[in-house]
């Protein structure tokens, strides 16, 4: 089991609970889609998994290791969970190369170069190293964000509405590319989507929130 969420409860404020005893299991290499109406807590589940929010109660295990429960809270930087943000959050003061190598600067310079080149190849953007985020199109930004997330080799990939910022034409193309990239590296993935079609196309498993 790559991700196991048990009896997870969470609220942003005292008034309303966003999640109440939520459970989820995802196997290694599986691609799962979270679907549900707006405000049902899809993004919240991803944020809890990444360690960006702290649950009221419950437990999350990643690759057999407990990352949060009643006693324990593992900081996001120690979880090895990759997340692609809805607005991509590419660092505007860093170029593409620096963005992608941001999470792997513990490697030697040579290794870093190799890894970055490999990832740029993977997302079909070889040769873009020197560009800055504002010099990229929306679709290119998204692929760089994916490459950056994959660089440190996360155990789990979280995608929050990966297609929402793209127009329909691009959407089809990116969807196919994304699927093949995920398949190629065989990474366990959770993606959030509004769109039933996206979910069916991408995922082996659908989790419905209400």
């Amino acid at each position: 089991m790559q991700l196991k969420i048990s009896d997870l409860s969470f609220s942003y404020n005292k008034k309303e609970k966003v999640l109440n005893d939520f459970n989820l299991e995802i196997n290694k290499g599986e691609v799962a889609a979270l679907v549900g109406r707006s405000g049902s807590g899809k993004s919240t589940i991803l944020r809890l998994t990444a360690g960006l929010e702290i649950p009221d109660s419950g437990r999350i295990e990643i690759a057999g290791k407990t990352v949060v429960d009643e006693q324990k809270f593992l900081a996001p930087e120690k979880r090895k969970v990759g997340m692609v943000f809805q607005d991509y959050a590419l660092f505007p003061h860093l170029n593409v190369y620096q963005n992608i190598s941001f999470g792997i600067d513990h490697l030697s310079k040579k290794k870093r170069k190799e890894r970055t080149a490999e990832l740029l190849e993977l997302v079909n953007l070889a040769g873009f190293e020197k560009r800055y985020p504002h010099q990229l199109s929306g679709g290119q930004q998204q692929r760089i964000a994916l490459a950056r997330t994959l660089a440190p080799g996360p155990k789990l990939l979280l995608l929050d509405e990966p297609f929402s910022n793209l127009d329909t034409e691009l959407r089809d193309k990116i969807r196919k590319e994304l699927k093949s990239i995920i398949k190629e590296i065989g990474i366990t993935t959770i993606l959030v989507s509004h769109d039933k079609n996206d979910a069916e196309f991408m995922a082996e498993k659908e989790i419905l929130l209400n």
Partner: protein, 549 residues
């Protein structure tokens, strides 16, 4: 888990540093409040019985008068600059901030000089028109005159706040009212004023804080306020107990003012429009209204900046043979003190702001309140608090000396360190606001992205936050720099022996009626501050252009 949730994504180092900073920020205030229970002196009885009511009366007139008039002037000009286009608008847009570079006490002696019996105005009337007018019409050195001085040199606070608010509003608001057949005049009164009430009041309360803090103008004009009374009892009579009582009374007044401010602003949220909405489109003015707009805004600029500058230059020329090395000396002292203090203050502000950002809303709010506290308390009051602290330290050192034979030649009273500590207490809030709004603009997702990429809070801070905060840091730094340059009461009370800034020296010369000698010093001070304002306004513009391209 609940506590962890409150502190959220923090790391302990940041919280500890922040706690230390907050402790020092609050220290002077605690000292004052604790000493409230100390014995009262006879002098205080006298002050309370006969003088206190006068201090209240004068202070109230000054803050209400300048608060109201700056609101009118600042909001009116902001509206003019935001909603209309006329020749010179682009220049006035930032030039109307320049009066802030002129410390009110310098403005006060300049205008007093212009209007007195031997000044240019009366000379002109006497010599060319043979008119001699009763002196009392020209007498600036009273409450009315002080309100005039405060208004023209402090209104930019309201102007800045209101302008920033209006610039965020959507044009559909204005267009729909125009389509409904409202005149511009009634749009201003019925829509713009109520809508920007929060911003106008925020600006006015900054003006009021500055007025409460002021020592130079009231001293020069001979008006008794809390600040002058604190000075008198401390400097004049060495009566710390009375200064403390006065400081506490002033603090009570401030609590009331802050409360009223909150009440006036109301708890409601203002609809900040998103960037997707079109910004207000300026209307091109022509004919009479064009000239009226130009006349209004240029006259304000002339009165609040050009005239004082010319008068100072004139005096400076008259005083040729003025002491160049003296000016250079004080300029260097001022510059390095302000530059150094601003650096320390911005570092403190960044630490607190970063902690606030990692904490829950509640804690972030409390931190924001505490940092701004020092700015709402008059410098003279802070100085009293710090004096008390230094006395305690000296006692401690005496004790160490007596019982342990530890020699300490570290005499903290009146050292540069204490002065910089005082500046930090007073101005950290200004820097904090800049940094905090910088963080607001960046948003959370870069921080979170860096965290999920395996970086801790501190690494993220240096690699991601800091580079992205640069413009906000520069603005905050320069704002504090200007404030420290202009600062008078704290510096006068706490400065080390023989330590003179441009501000203190200019003030002393003017106070001794050696206005010509004050002129050079004042000019240098204003030029430093004006340059800082120029950099702040133009860095913003550069960024805006970059974002649009």
């Amino acid at each position: 888990m609940q506590l962890l949730k409150k502190l959220k994504k923090g790391s302990p180092g940041w919280y500890i540093l922040t706690l230390v900073i907050i402790f020092f920020l609050l220290l002077p205030n605690f000292n004052i409040i604790i000493n409230l229970f100390a014995e009262v002196s006879e002098n205080w009885e006298h002050v309370r019985e006969y003088l206190l009511i006068n201090y209240f009366h004068n202070t109230l007139i000054l803050i209400l008068g300048s608060g109201f008039l700056s609101a009118l002037l600042g909001a009116g000009l902001a509206w003019l600059i935001i909603a209309y286009d006329f020749p010179g608008r682009r220049f006035l847009n930032w030039a109307l901030i320049l009066p802030l570079a002129v410390p009110p006490y310098i403005g006060a002696y300049v205008y007093a000089g212009i209007f007195n019996f031997t000044g240019p105005v009366q000379r002109l009337l006497r010599n060319y028109f043979s008119i001699t007018i009763e002196q009392r019409y020209f007498d600036l050195m009273n409450l009315r005159g002080a309100v005039f001085i405060y208004t023209i040199f402090l209104f930019p606070y309201v102007y800045l706040m209101t302008k920033a608010f209006l610039a965020k509003q959507s044009s559909s608001l204005l267009e729909s009212s125009r389509l409904l057949g409202k005149s511009d005049y009634s749009i201003f009164l019925k829509i713009i004023l109520p809508l920007s009430r929060g911003a106008i009041i925020a600006g006015s309360s900054l003006v009021i804080m500055e007025v409460l803090n002021d020592y130079g103008v009231v001293k020069y004009f001979g008006i008794s306020t809390f600040t002058t009374a604190i000075f008198n009892s401390w400097f004049g009579m060495g009566d710390l107990a009375t200064s403390v009582r006065l400081a506490v009374t002033a603090m009570l007044l401030i609590v009331v003012i802050l409360f009223i401010e909150k009440l006036l602003r109301g708890g409601r949220k203002y609809s900040y429009s998103t960037s997707k909405l079109r910004p207000l489109r300026r209307r091109q003015l022509s004919g009479r209204s064009k000239f009226l707009a130009m006349f209004l805004s240029y006259s304000v600029f002339t009165v609040a900046f050009i005239i004082p500058m010319f008068q100072l230059i004139y005096w400076s020329i008259l005083s040729r043979g003025g002491n160049f090395s003296e000016v250079l000396n004080h300029a260097l002292t001022s510059f390095f003190t302000a530059a150094g203090a601003a650096a320390i203050i911005i570092i403190g502000a960044v630490i607190v702001a970063n902690t606030a950002r990692m904490s829950s809303k509640l804690i972030a709010n409390i931190l924001g309140r505490i940092t701004i506290l020092g700015y709402s308390i008059p410098g003279a009051v802070i100085a009293v608090g710090i004096l008390l602290f230094m006395l305690q330290l000296d006692l401690l050192f005496d004790y160490l000396n007596l019982y342990f034979g530890i020699e300490t030649n570290l005499v903290l009273s009146s050292t540069l360190l204490m002065l910089i500590f005082a500046y930090t207490v007073r101005f950290l809030g200004i820097a904090f606001n800049s940094v905090d709004s910088g963080y607001d603009k960046i948003g959370e997702s870069y921080f979170e992205a860096a965290r999920t990429l395996g970086k801790g809070v501190t690494t993220t801070f240096f690699k991601v936050d800091l580079p992205m905060l640069k413009p906000a840091l520069l603005s905050g730094y320069l704002l504090v720099f200007i404030e420290v340059m202009k600062e008078l009461p704290l510096t006068l009370i706490l400065r080390p022996f023989n330590f003179d800034t441009l501000a203190t020296r200019a003030f002393e010369y003017a106070n001794d009626e050696m206005i010509y000698r004050a002129a050079d010093l004042s000019l240098v001070l204003i030029i430093f501050s004006a340059l800082a304002i120029y950099i702040i306004t133009h860095q913003r513009r550069r960024r805006k252009n970059a974002a649009e391209n």
